[in-house]
């Protein structure tokens, strides 16, 4: 068992994620998600689109952290929403802050020079490598977070039963594994060929959300 992997995957690891709902707040306020069933559909949609892309980029950055800049540029090209670019880079910066103390090393130091932050999945891959994780493990953490982040936001925003929500996450376990596996395989090729699955509604509603006067989550 790899303790470092568990530390990095733990939702309590202080990497800024608690302030982000992964698009769930916008979906709740626009009445697209209101209960367990609609949450389930939201999570599956997110997992197989931006979740897959994030996991592949995390695996790629973990396999070759020295190429973080080029990999980051490729992910920028796959992130059309300025609000999501900002949210992703902020979370990448937050993760770096924690890693600079917990798992310092040359690549983590280099990531710190990017003041606006690397995209979150790229930062995750770089940090995971410093922690001694494999690309496959990086992809698994990223795919899991693609689901667990919005799920915990749903507990706060909708007051859903936390046991049932975790039952839902557990029931998606095979999907999370499948996405992580596909992401790891995709990351073996050149960065330009990494997956580019998109979720236009998440992009559009992220822009909408960023303009609200009253909101609970940063994204």
């Amino acid at each position: 068992m790899k303790a470092q992997l568990l530390i990095l995957a733990d939702g309590r690891f202080p990497s800024g994620g608690h302030a982000h709902s992964g698009g769930l707040e916008a979906a709740v306020v626009r009445k697209r998600v209101s209960d367990l069933d609609s949450l389930r559909r939201f999570l599956i949609g997110r997992l197989y689109t931006s979740g897959l892309v994030g996991a592949a980029f995390a695996a790629a950055a973990c396999a070759d952290p020295g190429s973080m800049d080029g990999i980051d540029e490729e992910l920028d090209a796959r992130t059309p929403s300025p609000a999501l670019r900002l949210a992703s880079r902020r979370q990448g910066r937050s993760l770096w802050r924690a890693a600079a103390v917990v798992w310092p090393g040359p690549h983590v130091t280099k990531a710190g020079a990017v003041r606006k932050g690397l995209h979150q999945p790229v930062a995750l891959g770089v940090v995971a490598e410093a922690a001694g994780c494999t690309p496959g493990e990086s992809a698994a953490i990223s795919a899991y977070h693609a689901v667990s982040g919005p799920a915990s936001a749903a507990v706060r925003l909708l007051g859903l039963d936390p046991y049932q929500v975790h039952g839902l996450i557990a029931a998606l376990g095979d999907d999370i594994d499948r996405v992580a596996q596909a992401a790891t395989e995709a990351a073996r090729g050149p960065a330009a060929d990494l997956p580019a699955a998109s979720s236009p509604l998440l992009d559009v509603s992220a822009e909408d959300h960023a303009a609200w006067e009253v909101r609970l989550f940063a994204s």
Partner: protein, 233 residues
Amino acid sequence: MHPDDHGHEHGPDETPHTHPHPDVDPHAPLAESGTGQRAVRIGIGGPVGSGKTALVAALCRAMADDLRLAVVTNDIYTTEDADFLLRNGVLPAERIRAVETGCCPHTAIRDDISANLDAIEELEDSLGPLDVILVESGGDNLTATFSKGLIDKQIFVVDVAGGDKVPRKGGPGVTAADLLVINKTDLAPLVGADLAVMDRDATARRGALPTVFLSLVEDPSAKPVQEWIRGLM
């Protein structure tokens, strides 16, 4: 994990990994605390509506002329407090940042402080050296306190309208804050709060740590708090 806590034996076949270097500091300026190299960071916490934003506004008005100030707010609903400060023109907009907290200001000021550190870093990058940064937490509860990784000193603001039992109830904010402010003393007669009781209980809970009474209505320059802050510099 604290850099000092990682000591362990290395097994022969473990995965190669790195350890925190004791000299690494992710928020490097903190190391220069007290040397005049960087701003003193002051956290302002306390229950909902106790007067934290009103105190921040008063301090800005009273100190902006001779000190380089900036403010970070942590609100439950994004920018309410920052908007109040902007509307009242206590500081130019570029000196105020609002941090979004995902429903939980106490998480953002204690357990996962990265967004606040980002906001401070951005303020220092864009404004140059500062003397004082005030970090307001959104009103939370009596247990919400700031991480020492985020701030140097913390002020806990309670008000007499919450009842004269509040200091007696204790909690880490009341017992451990570097300064306890008991605000809205002008309301004491109206709510039947006994200031002498609050003073006695605060002393019992806090030992030698200072407590000040304040009414921002009667003392809009928050004189005792201002003096305490100036004393830190």
